[in-house]
């Protein structure tokens, strides 16, 4: 028992060491990136101890220390929760981060501020750890906002580029809209339950929880890029590839799903919210899958596939299976991070070329990357006995056998099939066929940092799903019996997607490019969403700010009503009332007249 808490605290404490070292000469050293990477690998290994103990004994722990503040009857203290979710997520996140750190040593080696980059990545990881282990909402909020701000800094890493800055601002804006929901939930819990501690919140009466749950759903929508607040995720691909691999595959974007999983005890009896969640997830997964179909930027395709998988997780929460959603978070982390790293490897080798139309034939030039990309894509589509299969197949099966909203479930199935289609498209365009890139040879994937990091995740993508689902205690009763066609449905739609996409690609490859149809444009322009929301809304808002708030009200009305009108009236009235008109001749005249008159009267009087 003592080993449990102490080793997990050691894990968390170790992560802060390189941050503290940033004040010493260590930080100027060229070895700082390696130091960070090694620290994380050690943290991962140590974190396995409590995780194994947890798997063996299955006991939750909660640590509460350092009393921060007590306000009236509400106590806030530093409090960590080590339960099923955090205990499984911490090692997964650390493992993935370890690989990504090693990958960044290779990817960012020419960056002059590589040390700062590693510090930011680590800070991000720490905030993520705060988020998953928090036991009260305030602490959760610290982690929640922390990942948001760190994503701002990391997406805008190349701050000279306008696009990077816009993307960073976009990420913050969409996240901030989600935060409003979080704050609303916090306010509701405080007002009605007078607590922010998770245990006490979960004891709440399950009536009338709509307001806080909608708040939490909004928060998750913002952070996990669900439909409506999704455009920031593809834009965030402006950041360096390691950032995309860490933030936009395995950690930050799943924070929203994680939040819903955390608060699932409140949600499991609320049918309204579940339906909303289900539909939101289904729309997201379908819409982003459609968008992914026609993209040409390799990172954007992977980003949209992340978005689609996040939608699938939300769907899983909507069908009341939080544990399955959590399993999918964990398995998804491995192959999605690897897919990003593979695309990073390709991009780097082709001299920063991201367009898949200008690739091709890479299976000979980059054999290792090719292997990993194919394994990752297959795992993503849920190929049996790869990592993705263990969660994705279960999700589809459970969805198929559940009796909730059939429309939403159908959409999910279509999206699943599309997953296979765009995966095929990536493989077809980058790996197969003739080379279409410029003949300058910069291709080299033989750096050990690159090979080792991808290799580790490759093993993860093959075995992690089996290991995790073999070891964790079963939490929900799985569906034991179902008809054949339902059992095979996930596989059939996936294979259908594969074949269809392959045939289409083969057939269309040599055809003349026709003028794009409306459907194509809808998909390629991301459903016209950015065009409408990113042009119209800011324009109206800024116009309102300028015209009505600033020019009309501040500069015109308020100036006119109070200061200007007062001074105007003062001026007018003083002019009207005053009898001094400046008519000097008249004054002298009257003066003289009175003088002469009085003199005359006086003299005649005498």
């Amino acid at each position: 028992m003592n080993l449990f808490t102490s080793s997990i605290l050691v894990t968390l404490f170790m992560l802060t060491l390189p941050i503290m070292m940033a004040n010493t000469s260590m930080y100027i050293n060229k070895l700082y990136p390696r130091y960070v990477k090694t620290t994380i690998s050690y943290a991962f290994m140590i974190s396995l101890i409590p995780t194994m103990m947890f798997l063996h004994l299955g006991q939750d722990t909660m640590i509460s220390n350092w009393h921060w503040i007590t306000i009236q009857t509400m106590k806030l203290s530093l409090s960590f929760k080590f339960d099923y979710f955090s205990m499984i997520f911490v090692p997964v996140a650390l493992f993935v981060t370890w690989s990504i750190m090693e990958f960044s040593i290779w990817y960012m080696h020419s960056d002059p501020y590589i040390n700062r980059f590693f510090k930011y990545l680590l800070l991000f990881l720490i905030t993520m750890m705060i988020l998953v282990t928090a036991n009260n909402m305030f602490q959760l909020f610290i982690g929640w906002e922390g990942v948001g701000i760190m994503s701002f800094l990391l997406i805008g890493w190349w701050y000279g580029r306008t696009d990077a800055n816009t993307a960073a601002l976009q990420a913050i804006l969409y996240n901030r809209i989600g935060d409003v929901g979080f704050i609303m939930a916090m306010a509701w819990f405080l007002t009605n339950l007078n607590t922010w501690d998770l245990q006490q919140i979960f004891m709440a009466n399950h009536e009338n929880l709509n307001i806080p749950l909608i708040g939490l759903l909004l928060a998750a929508t913002g952070k996990s890029a669900q439909f409506g607040l999704h455009p920031w995720l593809p834009s965030a691909m402006e950041g360096p590839t390691p950032v995309s691999a860490l933030l936009h595959s395995s950690t930050m974007v799943v924070a929203g799903v994680f939040l819903l999983i955390r608060f699932h005890p409140l949600m499991e009896h609320n049918k309204t919210l579940q339906t909303i969640t289900l539909c939101l997830g289904a729309i997201t997964t379908l819409f982003t899958a459609i968008c992914a179909l026609t993209q040409n930027d390799i990172k954007k395709i992977v980003a949209f596939s992340t978005s689609s998988q996040l939608g699938l997780m939300i769907v899983t929460i909507g069908i009341n299976q939080p544990y399955l959603a959590f399993l999918h978070i964990c398995t998804h982390a491995f192959f999605k991070a690897m897919l990003f790293m593979c695309s990073g490897s390709i991009i780097h080798s082709l001299n920063d070329e991201q367009d898949i139309r200008k690739m091709g034939g890479l299976f000979k030039a980059l054999p290792f990357t090719t292997t990993s990309l194919i394994v990752g894509s297959l795992a993503l589509t849920g190929m049996p006995f790869l990592t993705g299969f263990y969660s994705k197949d279960l999700i589809i099966e459970t969805a198929n056998t559940s009796y909730t909203n059939a429309w939403a479930l159908l959409m999910t199935l279509v999206a699943t099939s599309m997953t296979a289609a765009y995966s095929t498209r990536i493989m077809f365009f980058t790996l197969l066929g003739q080379p279409r890139f410029s003949p300058i040879i910069t291709i080299n994937e033989n750096d050990p940092h690159l090979i080792n990091s991808i290799k580790r995740l490759l093993f993860g993508s093959i075995f992690a799903g089996f290991l995790i689902s073999y070891n964790i205690t079963p939490t929900t009763t799985p569906q034991m019996t179902m008809p054949h066609y339902l059992k095979m449905m996930a596989l059939i739609v996936t294979i259908l997607g594969f074949i269809l996409a392959l045939e289409l690609n083969l057939m269309m490859q040599n055809l003349k490019f026709k003028y794009p149809s409306g459907l194509f444009k809808f998909s390629n322009m991301l459903g016209y969403f950015p065009t409408i929301i990113h042009r119209l809304m800011p324009k109206t808002n800024l116009l309102m700010g300028q015209k009505s708030a600033s020019t009309l009200l501040d500069m015109t009305w308020m100036e006119k009503i109070l200061p200007k009108s007062i001074s105007h009236f003062q001026m007018k009235s003083s002019i009207a009332v005053s009898n001094q008109k400046g008519l000097i001749k008249l004054y002298f005249m009257s003066f003289m007249l009175t003088l002469t008159l009085s003199l005359l009267t006086l003299s005649f009087h005498g």
Binding site: I71, I142, N165
Partner: protein, 459 residues
């Protein structure tokens, strides 16, 4: 209390008798020492207050503001050094004297026991501020700004004098410690409504309430750096402090009278935030963001619940430090670029990386990143307004979003992007400037560790 007042007074002879090379160092060092004395008042043993004499007292509401005031003088002195470097010695000394006088008056205002004395000192702070704005501002518009500043605040506060005289003749005392036990419930009638307005308007103008805020952007923009700092950090807080003090007299009428002002504030904070989004002038942006933050304080004070009072107090302190820091940063840009226009100062991160770090931290505190005290304040205000009426969360939410947006817009425009050619040969950031920013930021961070010292009397 004299142990703060007398040393502060003695700063004036210190200024005039120091060697020309030592005036800045001497005054800065001594005022910093004075600010350390005040720190002990943060430790309030009981729920009561610390009585220093018949005239002065402090409690957990005024103590943080008092400390903020004393803390700010050395920072103002540090910030103005470059701005005054071209002036003659006498003028420098006069300037410092003005700052010290203002400081003295503010200290006494925050600790005054008698309401009428509070009023007199409250008005007296106008004079040094006016002189600082109109004498040392940079442009001709400063005269207009001074006019606006003076007339708005004076017109707002004269009814308060009459109201106070009436209260004195009715209650027999205006002593803040006694008055809370003697006060009668204020029932709804026309004359009481007028009394309420007379009591509150002075502070509403000072805060400022949306609609009466025109003086603030003008004064902030035209004032020299020390003027902007003290205006944003302390003078606005006089309004919040006064409102919290005087509302004990005005119950239960406040419940009814608060509605229009709450509406104005809630609406106004969105309007002023969206004005921020369109500003090209850096100082004007920060000034409007002050209006928007102070609107939150007005809402909190008018709600009058324990949580809202805590939020209002915390937000006042947090905003004082943050906005003052932002003004300092804007000034350090101004001293290099010689323009307040944001777009002329792009891409400074490349040239001044440490300054960019300060910018980042200041913007993050301005948008209330957890766990800073800005968040504590804002969160408590949002909680209070949510429990007052659930609908307010929509307006608050919009404001939170826009606040984040303009803070980061400011950061990105000034620090990110490609730098322009005319900034190539600017000076590096000085130790003076860096320590100035650090001294703003340290209290913010330290208070986050233990926010209860600034949560006010209800805590």
């Amino acid at each position: 209390m004299l142990k703060i007042i007398v040393p502060t007074m003695m700063l004036i002879p210190l200024t005039w008798l120091s060697k020309p090379s030592m005036i800045w160092i001497n005054t800065t060092a001594y005022s910093m020492l004075i600010s350390l004395i005040g720190l002990t008042y943060l430790n309030q043993f009981t729920d009561n207050n610390l009585n220093f004499s018949l005239l002065f007292f402090t409690d957990s509401l005024s103590a943080p503001l008092l400390v903020l005031t004393t803390w700010l003088l050395p920072l103002m002195l540090m910030a103005s050094q470059h701005h005054l470097s071209k002036e003659t010695l006498t003028r420098k000394k006069l300037y410092i004297t003005m700052l010290v006088t203002l400081q003295l008056l503010l200290i006494m205002t925050f600790t005054a026991t008698e309401l009428i004395m509070f009023y007199i000192l409250f008005e007296a702070t106008l004079m040094p501020t006016l002189i600082i704005i109109t004498r040392w501002g940079n442009q001709t518009e400063r005269l207009n700004a001074g006019l606006y500043f003076l007339f708005y605040t004076l017109v707002g506060s004269l009814p308060l004098l009459i109201a106070l005289l009436w209260l004195q003749s009715n209650l027999g005392t205006l002593n803040l410690l006694v008055i809370q036990y003697w006060t009668q419930p204020l029932l709804s009638s026309w004359s009481n409504t007028l009394l309420w307005l007379a009591c509150m308007m002075a502070f509403m103008v000072k805060m400022p309430l949306y609609g009466l805020h025109l003086w603030l952007p003008k004064a902030h923009v035209e004032a020299p750096i020390a003027g902007s700092m003290v205006l944003a950090a302390v003078l606005l807080k006089l309004g919040g402090y006064g409102m919290m003090r005087i509302t004990i007299l005005l119950n239960p009428l406040t419940d009814f009278m608060a509605y229009p002002f709450m509406m104005l504030s809630l609406w106004g904070m969105i309007m002023t935030s969206s004005i921020c989004l369109r500003q090209t002038d850096l100082k004007s942006l920060i000034a409007y963001s002050s209006v928007s933050h102070m609107a939150l304080v007005i809402v909190a004070v008018l709600i009058q619940s324990p949580w809202s009072y805590m939020g209002a107090t915390a937000l006042m302190i947090a905003h004082g430090l943050t906005s003052s820091m932002l003004f300092c940063l804007a000034n350090s840009n101004y001293e290099r670029i010689h323009s307040r226009t944001m777009i002329l100062a792009r891409g400074l991160q490349t040239l001044l990386p440490l300054m960019a770090a300060w910018w980042l931290l200041a913007s993050l505190t301005n948008l209330a990143l957890p766990p800073t005290i800005n968040l504590v304040g804002e969160l408590f205000v949002v909680m209070a307004s949510f429990s007052w009426s659930n609908i307010t969360i929509i307006l608050m939410g919009i404001n939170i979003t826009i606040t984040a947006l303009y803070s980061l817009y400011m950061l990105i425009t000034t620090q990110r992007g490609k730098y322009t050619h005319h900034v190539k040969n600017i000076k590096p950031s000085f130790t003076r400037e860096n320590s100035l920013m650090a001294l703003h930021l340290l209290p913010l961070l330290l208070l986050s560790l233990n926010p209860k010292v600034i949560l006010g009397p209800i805590y």
